[in-house]
């Protein structure tokens, strides 16, 4: 009887581990849609989407780069499972890798989309950072308008 209980317990642990593993997959399709919805009312056209996968906490930051062009306005939106996108923030870096701005407002304690009215063409960097203990999964969408 004891061994049966042991097997059942091990089975339960295994099932739980498997379930946890499945839950830990970073599926950003819903977050991407959330980001995209934000573009059209503001007159922006979809350009790119980014999957921000923190690999269950194995990555604290995910960085992408993009050439922003002079005379174009860009909008970068961010979404995850949280209402106010808590647990992740975006920092925009200039071509010389200087911090330009962050999506996170320490006053409002929430993230805001970033709009860049670009006047200097160059490679800019989108640096996504996760807070410890977050679900390490988010999406970002880049839109543009002339």
């Amino acid at each position: 009887m004891k061994s049966v209980t042991k097997i059942l317990a091990l089975g339960a642990v295994f099932t739980l581990l498997m379930a946890t593993n499945v839950q830990a997959q970073c599926d950003v399709s819903a977050y991407t849609r959330k980001c995209v919805q934000f573009l059209k009312p503001k007159g922006f056209q979809f350009l790119k989407s980014y999957k921000i996968d923190g690999k269950n906490g194995n990555r604290e930051t995910v960085r992408y780069s993009y050439v922003f062009s002079r005379g174009t306005t860009y909008l970068i939106t961010l979404a995850n499972a949280e209402q106010d996108t808590k647990g992740v923030k975006l920092t925009l870096l200039s071509p010389s890798k200087q911090v330009m701005t962050s999506s996170y407002s320490s006053v409002a304690k929430k993230n805001f989309p970033i709009q860049l009215k670009c006047q200097r063409t160059g490679i800019y960097y989108l640096n996504f950072e996760f807070d410890q203990g977050s679900d390490y999964c988010a999406a970002s969408v880049l839109g543009f308008k002339r």
Binding site: S29, T32, R33, V36, Q37, K40, Q45, F46, L47, K48, S49, Y50, K51, N58, R59, E60, T61, V62, R63, Y64, S65, Y66, V67, S69, R70, G71, T72, L75, L92, S94, M100, T101, S102, S103, S105, F112, P113, I114, Q115, L116, K117, C118, Q119, R120, T121, G122, I123, F144, R146
Partner: protein
Amino acid sequence: MKKIFLAVLIGTLFTACGGKEETSETKENDETTTEETTENAGGVFKGIEVLNSIPDPVETAALIKDLGIRYDKSALNDVNKKSSYSKSHEQALNLGVYSADLAYANIYSQNQDAIDYLTAIKEMADGINISQYFDFEKIKQMTSEGTDLEELLKVTLSNLHQVNEELQKEQRGEMTVYIVSGGWLEALYLSCYVAKEAQNSTELKEYIADQKIILAQIVNLLSNNKDKSTHIANLHEQFSKIATAYEPISLVYGEVEDTENKQGDEIVVEQATDVKLNFSDADFNTLYDTIVEVRKEIIK
């Protein structure tokens, strides 16, 4: 709706084919880790992640339309040539070319032309075995039915993110290099083609001058990998000719001032700077002729 769908598809094509994200465990060693990530991505192409930063041709198309320049189909690569591209590198390069043409046709709401280019893209995608990531029939059906944008996005975005990862896993990073290079070259060609008509367009000339930044990235990538295949070496040689033509051209920036404001529910950063454009008519003619020559090689 068609316009939005096509823009999304084009954008996604380039996003999907644009290489891996740069990742880092900590801020301190991000440069090193970025390099490691590139290697770990399974791509034999050193530095392939730079492709992810190449602007989408839809931006060029938007600029051209914004300048009030009329649509000119004769500038585009003939869709009837699609059957003549039989080798995989030709198909990948022209997938990029046709994608840029699609962006151009689409932004001018030339729906029949856009569908023709979509068909050509499908044929190229079939040729290099990536069409499984593009559910063309479903997308066409949804477009004709006027399906909600959200649903279209779900279909187009959900699978296409896999393309780059899959190509990398399959050690086919070379294909992404051709697709992005072909698309960028066609967009550059179109901007130069229309610049000939809009001689006084400073904005367009500045845009063309700034493409030097992107060209440097592509040439560097091709240079670092030219030993991988004769086709890459050839493309490097061709793009180097454009780089030579670009040498006297530059857009010199003064100091950039960033002003940050909170506007509504957004953080807005506005830049201000002075520029000096070095781009004579003779420089333009040399550049244009070189681009035409290189493009001819690719679309022949």
